[in-house]
């Protein structure tokens, strides 16, 4: 292909140089392609999820609007619902609670029990979205099986998640007992549109009818239940104005009214955060690729030294030559970017698989996630390409500046080699030298600042947050500097060491520290990859270890919840009988919402469009979280263990209280703006209780006990619909028996096994770490590419040395050993520095973000170290194995 002669010189030359040198740039293009692929894959995945969530928003909420309460709607609320029905709005009620299901009940107790997430529905459910059921029949038909299939006088059907069948060894047609009633399993549910996308689930889903739930008699006063009233307007006016109307009318109900527009805010926030951090790991891969770009250009320019000198001798200035090679670099960056886009498109199919199972509900199926092309993909694709080109540009500028140092006299390099012109050497202290250099030639300093600013801008762009972007680039630059200094110190150490040991080692060391070896760049690139992967590993292990370590030896095995007041004595008796232990500690509790603080009504939800649109700061959101959430209240005589009073005083034993007193947790007090002497008014199942704050407490949340934000003085909750929670500790072999006995004796009591919860947590953590690691693999691959690029750049020198060594009697084995020693040493240094940096980073994250102690993970670090050496050996030999077989004469003849 020939460009028209009117094409500007820089473009003509850039084209000609690329045409002849494409082989030099395979790694250049690959580095950018890989980085862009990682960034685009993550952004496409997050854009697709966002699109799907938006599309299925009504299905995710279950209606146009949702009214949520922690109890059944009272009369006043029912009147509002009837009014809505009169206005043509479809309303359906959904009740959700945790319950115990058992396989069959014998005189020995319940055989096979399982904690389940029960959901009771009405015929209209679901108003939006589709349930995927097996068999594919209407849900209502499955929940009300015909009498011929169900011999009992009144028969209830249950549709369950397949996991329950596996865990209890059941099949379709079997019966399970929930509460006081037997349910026949009539089908399985694969996806339900409005299941809360949550990382943690207490157990498999069981769908029943509202009649079935009533028959089970699980819901007692004060039971832990979530009542949802789903509304479908069907063209009956505007959802948003009805939202504000209902918020006003249901204020006294302590109901939470939301519209499909803000369906699943935690899910959105979680996905946003995940996409942001995965995106930053992707950007790290791109920046590591950038190091590869800089090294490729450096190696290329070294070869082009002569041609540049000729161009200058012919009358070209540095600016023009830099323009030529910068154009070439950007063109290659564009090519790498385009290839990267296709890698990214491929990755967006892989990521959902890595993430599958992260959320307990299969969210991706729930929102009918597809990774196909849509207009939503255009943004991420353009951004990915932009990031690729900008990274190329920023990493090219520095090596390209060296073109300025090529003098036209370089054409006579043989005469001038190693010679410095007299009178141009700057001497003095480092600072003075820097200042003089800046005065005589400010361009490198200006370029360095611009590159730093450019990289920071790219980071902020990718993170979507100034603070996180700057924090990321600050951390990355610190890590790069630390890696560079360590690699330099290592090489300096080698020089000081002289030439120790056998020839093989001397040859390997020589290769590492000779000019042009690019060892520092390789160590940095591999080191960053190792650092990213190991940081994730160390944090994951530390989290799991800390949680395990924090669990005290006397921590409970079970939490039993929803024990009714009239069951308390019998329950204590049963536990005493089963465990031989003294009666378990029963803590009374009641669910409530905050209605007023210091006499001022609390209003969290917007009641007008203007309020909705008003910008909320992070602090506002935090405050609203504290004000709007449900509080579990208790009353206690004594200050619980691991609680310390930081302000005010705990009530004295046998104190006579004039009115309810309250001890509040310190963060809650801070965000709610309440102090000792202030008052909080609670709404408890429609009844109002006002308490005076008499103390503020610090709580140790991670101690595996029942902890409370709000503790009232004894007597404050008299007459309130309280339930009890009991914590019980039994040896592992007695767990199943105890659970079975409790289910039979107290069908409405739910038992939560701490061990199961811990296991779920560990699984989620592993999944999350796996997803991050999948993207982090791009970082280490980019590091491997950089190493391959560096070795390829020095291929000819290695080849020449290898044949000279062979010519003087060295064997192929000797050369292979020298190469192996060289690559292994690279791995040792990159691995050591990467692992040290990873531990420093993990320590900072654990200490300052997660507030957990760091612990040394020798096994994990050992594996990481070994794998790094293996990686450098494999990449090294893949890049250079051909050299080993070259016959000396063929090479030397061409010298």
């Amino acid at each position: 292909m020939t460009l028209p002669s009117t094409t500007p010189f820089w473009l003509l030359m850039a084209w000609r140089e690329s045409r002849a040198a494409w082989r030099h740039f395979i790694f250049f293009v690959a580095c950018i392609a890989l980085g862009v692929g990682a960034v685009v894959g993550v952004s496409l995945f997050s854009a697709n999820v966002e699109r799907a969530v938006l599309k299925e928003a009504r299905g995710l909420l279950g209606g146009d609007l949702e009214i949520r309460l922690s109890r059944e709607m009272n009369e006043k609320g029912q009147a509002v619902l009837s009014d809505l029905a009169r206005r043509g709005v479809q309303v359906t009620r959904v009740s959700e609670l945790a319950a115990m299901a058992s396989r069959e009940v014998t005189s020995e107790g319940a055989q096979g029990t399982q904690l389940v997430e029960l959901k009771a529905v009405e015929p209209l459910y679901p108003l939006y979205g589709r349930l995927k059921l097996e068999p594919d029949r209407p849900l209502w038909a499955l929940l009300n099986p015909s009498e011929d299939r169900c011999p009992r006088p009144r028969c209830y059907g249950a549709v369950v998640q397949e996991a329950l069948l596996f865990r209890l060894g059941l099949s379709i047609g079997s019966s399970i007992k929930i509460g006081d009633t037997l349910f026949m399993i009539t089908g399985t549910v694969r996806t339900e549109p409005d299941r809360m996308a949550n990382m943690f689930s207490l157990g498999p889903r069981v769908l029943v009818s509202q009649e079935g739930l009533a028959a089970a008699a699980l819901v007692k006063p004060g039971s832990r239940v979530r009542e949802r009233y789903l509304l479908k307007l069907s063209g009956m006016g505007d959802a948003q104005s009805l939202l504000y109307e209902l918020r006003g009318r249901l204020l006294s109900e302590s109901a939470k009214v939301s519209s499909y527009r803000d369906a699943q805010p935690q899910l959105k926030q979680f996905l946003e955060q995940l996409a942001r951090y995965l995106g930053l790991v992707g950007l790290t891969a791109l920046f590591v690729g950038g190091i590869g770009v800089a090294m490729s250009i450096q190696a290329f320019l070294r070869e082009k030294f002569h041609s540049i000198a000729i161009l200058k001798a012919l009358g070209s200035d540095s600016r023009t030559v830099i323009q030529v090679y910068l154009t070439q670099a950007i063109g290659l960056g564009l090519l790498g970017g385009v290839i990267g886009l296709s890698i990214g498109v491929g990755l967006q199919d892989v990521l959902p698989r890595a993430l599958a199972g992260l959320l307990e509900t299969d969210l991706l199926q729930q929102v009918e996630f597809t990774s196909g092309f849509s207009t939503a993909a255009i943004g991420p694709l353009i951004k990915g390409l932009g990031l690729g080109i900008m990274t190329t540009l920023l990493f090219s500028v520095w090596p390209l500046l060296t073109i300025r140092n090529v003098k036209p006299a370089g054409i006579f390099r043989r005469d001038f080699e190693g010679a410095e012109r007299v009178g141009h050497t700057v001497t003095g202290r480092f600072g003075q030298r820097l200042l003089i250099s800046f005065r005589t030639d400010p361009l490198p300093a200006v370029a360095a600042v611009s590159i730093g600013a450019g990289l920071a801008a790219l980071s902020v762009w990718q993170a979507g947050s100034l603070k996180i972007g700057l924090f990321f680039i600050g951390g990355l630059i610190t890590a790069v500097i630390a890696l560079m200094l360590s690699a330099q110190a290592f090489l300096k150490g080698l020089r000081l060491l002289g030439s120790p040991g056998p020839l093989v080692l001397r040859q390997a060391l020589g290769n590492l520290h000779r000019p042009g070896s690019q060892t520092i760049g390789v160590m940095m690139s591999i080191g960053i990859g190792v650092m990213v992967i190991m940081t994730i590993g160390v944090i994951e292990h530390s989290l799991v270890r800390n949680i395990g370590a924090n669990r005290p030896a006397d921590s409970p095995t079970f939490f039993f919840i929803d024990i009714q007041p009239d069951q308390a004595d019998r329950f204590s008796h049963l536990i005493h009988e089963q465990t031989g232990d003294v009666a378990p500690r029963l803590t009374p509790l009641v669910r409530s919402r905050v209605r007023a603080i210091n006499g001022q009504s609390v209003r969290v939800e917007a009641e007008t469009e203007q309020e909705e649109q008003a910008a909320q700061t992070r602090e506002d959101k935090r405050k609203n979280w504290y004000l709007g959430r449900e509080y579990v209240l208790t009353y206690l005589e004594e200050l619980p263990k691991d609680n310390t009073i930081v302000k005010g005083a705990w009530w004295k034993p046998d104190h006579l209280f004039v009115g309810p007193q309250l001890s509040i947790e310190e963060d809650a007090a801070k965000h709610m703006g309440v102090n000792v002497g202030g008052t909080i008014e609670f709404e408890i199942q429609g009844i109002s209780v006002t308490a005076e704050v008499t103390s503020i407490r610090k709580v140790e949340w991670g101690n595996f006990s029942t902890n409370f934000y709000m503790i009232l003085s004894p007597g404050s909750l008299d007459g309130a619909p309280i339930t009890y929670v009991a914590t019980v500790r039994v040896p592992p072999r007695d767990e199943a028996t105890l659970q079975a006995k409790v289910v039979v004796a107290f069908p409405n009591v739910t038992s939560i096994n701490i061990g199961d919860v811990m296991e779920t947590f560990t699984n989620v953590l592993e999944r999350l770490a796996l997803a991050i690691r999948a993207v982090a693999l791009f970082c280490i691959s980019a590091g491997a590419l950089v190493m391959a690029a560096a070795l390829t750049a020095t291929r000819y020198r290695r080849l020449y040395e290898a044949v000279v060594l062979k010519a003087i009697g060295a064997t192929r084995g000797f050369i292979a050993q020298a190469f192996a020693a060289e690559y292994a040493l690279m791995g040792v240094v990159a691995g050591t520095v990467g692992i040290v940096m990873a531990n420093a980073l993990a320590w900072a994250v654990l200490r300052y973000i997660l507030d957990l102690p760091w612990s040394l993970e020798p096994r994990l670090l050992g594996i990481g170290f070994f794998c790094t050496i293996l990686l450098t050996l494999v990449v090294g030999f893949l890049s250079t194995y051909r050299i080993l077989g070259q016959p000396p004469l063929a090479v030397l003849r061409h010298e």
Binding site: S5, G315, S316, D317, P408, F412, F416, A419, R421
Partner: protein, 229 residues
């Protein structure tokens, strides 16, 4: 055309200061054909490089067409080389990744000449390489490469042509052809020609012979009167 005043060039290598040119003063009028001779290491090529502005002297000044080039910044020097100086190297110094035509076109493109490709083709035809335009340097013989280099040096019709042992890497008959080509350009276009050579017979063809030894002008003599062109 070229004035060299008290030019000294010193280099430092391995901590030792080496004087390459030592207080050289010369004046070369327009259209003169000059040979610079001397043994290896006498500073011939360095002097030629300094005249072309390829490097700066340690002290002294060099005037080219009325301009002190030692005072020029990089960009102005590059422009001066492009417009005023054609340079032919002993080792040809063609850009290996460009075809013969593209090599010749480079200075024309840098100077933003119109229709660079046609002009480059004409130049290659003029040096007898009309059929080799698409060949890369490695596909050309030494003589052919040097002819491409001559065409390139003369592409912008510079008033000064500097040739550094142009026949040094060629056999005698090919060398002869290249010298004839350079002479013809000097003759036909009135170009000032400065030739560095080892070859006394080649030096004898010029109008003036300047001999250097240890960086100093050993002799400077007119061999024949300057031809009026």
């Amino acid at each position: 055309m070229i004035k060299i005043q008290r030019v000294t060039m010193q280099l430092e290598a391995a901590g030792q200061r080496v004087t390459i040119l030592d207080d050289v003063t010369l004046d070369i009028p327009q259209k003169q054909m000059v040979a610079i001779v001397g043994p290896s290491g006498s500073g011939k090529s360095t002097l030629l490089g300094l005249i072309a502005g390829l490097d700066r002297p340690t002290s002294g000044s060099i005037w080219l067409d009325g301009v002190d080039i030692t005072l020029l910044r990089e960009q102005a020097l590059a422009r001066l080389r492009l417009e005023k100086v054609g340079y032919i190297f002993q080792s040809f110094h063609l850009i290996p990744t460009l075809t013969a035509l593209e090599n010749v076109a480079v200075p024309l493109e840098l100077a933003e000449f119109p229709d660079t490709r046609t002009r480059a083709r004409e130049l290659l035809e003029a040096v007898g390489l009309g059929t080799r335009v698409s060949h890369y340097p490695v596909q050309l013989s030494g003589g052919e490469q040097q002819r491409v280099a001559v065409a390139r040096a003369f592409a912008c019709r510079p008033p000064v042509l500097l040739a550094d042992e142009p026949t040094g890497n060629l056999d005698s008959s090919t060398g002869q052809q290249v010298i004839e080509l350079i002479m013809a350009l000097h003759r036909d276009f009135g170009t000032t020609l400065v030739l560095v050579t080892h070859d006394p017979s080649l030096a004898a063809l010029t109008e003036r012979v300047i001999a250097l030894r240890d960086g100093k002008v050993e002799s400077d003599r007119l061999v024949r009167p300057q031809q009026t062109l």
